[in-house]
Amino acid sequence: MTIVGFAEWLESTSLAILIRESAYGFAIVVAIHILGLTLSVGTLLWVDLRLLGVSLRSLRVSAVYRDLAPWFLAGFTVMLVSGVTLFTAFATSAYANVYFRIKIVALLLAGANALAFHVVTQRRSATWDNAPRPPAAVRIAGLTSLVLWVSVILAGRMMSYTMF
């Protein structure tokens, strides 16, 4: 099955039809997706600001991460579920949309950046956990994360102006 074929199948599911045809279904799911930004990127960006040594500098990096993780993980779960639901309803238009593609690439890169940080950079965290200004590798991870999430948000917003 091709990607377009899969997208067309998704659009034919009852969930997709419900979203497209109910009076408020689309609006409610989009609202959840936008509100979910607060919980997901809204909290994660503070981890990134700490990694950058720009804010919350008196707190240990691991303490900021540990306390915010449940919130941004819950947030990203909300984003994933609402995002997949929206995609299901408009899969072929989304797939063809250049901003959707940019958004997905940025999302994947953000995930790769997080993985690289956890697997490589975080191993030596004992040496910089307390540092108000962490080493370059850590700051780069924070900055990369911020730039990628800004791209995701901007690309996502552009989608709604170019898809319908």
Binding site: V30, I34, T38, G42, W46, S58, A63
Partner: protein
Amino acid sequence: MMTQLLSVIGALFTWIENTSIARNVAESAMLTASLSGIHLLGFTLVTGGALIANLRLLGVLLTQQSIPDVTLPAGRGILLGLAISLLSGALLFSGRAMEVSANGTFQIKMLLLVAAAVFHFSVASRVSADAQRARATAAVGLSLWIGLATAACAFILLE
């Protein structure tokens, strides 16, 4: 008196709509989309900062740190986010000032914006001790910010 005030405001909004900046925004979908994206970035900064500050007041996270150690940086984030959202929002507003200002949902959004911001910077950021008062403050603060975010979504999705 009220009708005079409303007609002055109406004249002002009509004048704003006719400025070249406003016309550029109104006529360019790309410009509107970009400003809307920037507005959403500001929203993320504001509500994320507000969430963290109020969760600290509730005693839910970063409890090893004093309240001001969390609420002060979060407050700076809120201010930066407000600056970004207000600037992008003003530009977006300018293109459709008359229509948008008459929209009930938009009016509620503005009221909640003022209420949430004033409450945060006059009450929430002055709390320094963990106690009943901190939790009550957080409950009010969170309600106002969530109300604002919901009104904002209702405005763009249901207009």
